[in-house]
Amino acid sequence: MGHSRQAIRAPATEAGVPALEVEGLIHDFGAIRALDDVAFANRAGDFTGLLGLNGAGKTTLYALITRLYSNRSGSIKIFGHDVRRQTSRALSLIGVVFQQPTLDLDLTIEQNLHYHAALHGLSWSEAQTRLEVELERSGLSERAHDKVRTLSGGQRRRVEIARALLHQPRLLLLDEPTVGLDVGSRHGILSHVRRLCREDGLAVLWATHLLDEVEEGDKVVVLHEGRVLATGGVPEVNRRAGARDIREAFTNLIGGLTET
């Protein structure tokens, strides 16, 4: 089912092109190397967990993909569009949920979403249609006219996800979206995003340090101290790390490295 919808949305010419392709990415903050020769790819319909401890370089990577910073070396391509050379095209295909909350607390959910839609050039009526769809999917339709300040942490995250999807991006980036949420909200958001991935063929890059958010069928990228230690499907990464599950694999990978 997911496959057929994805086929409709992706033009035939882009069929084999990865949603996100990162190659040879290096980034320094002064003398500190934040990212060192980072390379990986994910495809439409992939749920990819970007696994790393705090300080591994996840947020820096997101800032480079969204062009908050500029990459000096290496390349980042969104469906084949280089973010440096075809910035506008690349950005229009991305939806982002940043680590810090980015909603206007004094405005209503609907006002927040309208603002974002305008930034992406949607007309008012298009925006209204789209936001009704997305709020419906996130179960927040009844709260549309409430100020964001009155929402719980989990609900705010849902609004941010709905907002990131307004302009119908094909790659969704989330930076530690469940930090600070209780178990129930965490689970709710995770399954919501997985459903989007499955049903819409959305490519998802989900950064986290919480290993229990990864499932057997996911792809993972293990990032440690700015370097990619492993990429691939979960069973494959487990096997290569000589581990029974991803938690053990992760520990082996980063532990093995710190010992040497």
Binding site: F29, G30, I32, A34, N54, G55, G57, K58, T59, T60, A63, T66, R67, L68, Y69, S70, T87, S88, R89, L91, S92, I94, V96, F98, Q99, Q100, P101, T102, L103, D104, D106, L107, Q111, H114, Y115, H116, A117, A118, L119, H120, G121, L122, S123
Partner: protein, 275 residues
Amino acid sequence: MTLTHYYRCFLGIVWREALRFFHQRERFVAALVRPLVWLLVFAAGFRAVLGVSIIPPYETYITYEVYITPGLIAMIQLFNGMQSSLSMVYDREMGSMRTLLVSPLPRWFLLVSKLLAGTAVSILQVYAFLAIAWFVTVTELIEIDVPVAGYFTVVPMLVVSGLMLGALGMLLSSWIKQLENFAGIMNFVIFPMFFASSALYPLWKMRESSEWLYYVSVSNPFTAAVEIIRHSLYGQVHWEYLAYALACGLLFLGLAVLGYDPGRSLITRKGAAPA
């Protein structure tokens, strides 16, 4: 991206700025109270001390309230410009600057739109101030003595000065790290600019006490803002200062856009907390 996209994006930014303006009543009240205190208390007290002789654009002797009104208008815009720059720093921490910057439209366009939106808000504040000042004039408590036409002829100059001061704020927000508290801006930007200008006293008076301070004040961009507003209230144009204000505005804006350019790594250095 077509022109329609640019237009919608621009409207969205202005709309949000207006919404925020109406939701932050304290900020609005503060923006009004400040110049009113200067006008009703400071100016009234100083009237006796300071006689202002006949200088352009005035054709007769004027009272001190009349003299400082344009300076207070410019002060409203100065505060507004600095405050929106502060909120940008705050926004960046809170991340909503990021929301703005991941829009597929070019960054210079997003920043210019934000600047225009901020300027529109500052003009609203100026008119609220003028309305109250006019009301007080009617009660004959004080007299600001602006001809009716002046309320209209001032608009283009308010746009120029609002853009220039807003661009300055944006420039500061992009280049300077320590903008976190408003006290710093008060001490290092607002006070020096306000006092070393023609807002409170005619510059020829300043020259009597200090030659170099006179030259500092003459070349202060804020003096340009004050003077173009002052002249336009009486239907005149101060061409030199208008040109100077435009030039400063363009320079500030250019540097601000440069400061927000991801390739220049300024944001990189600022966001240097690798997480």
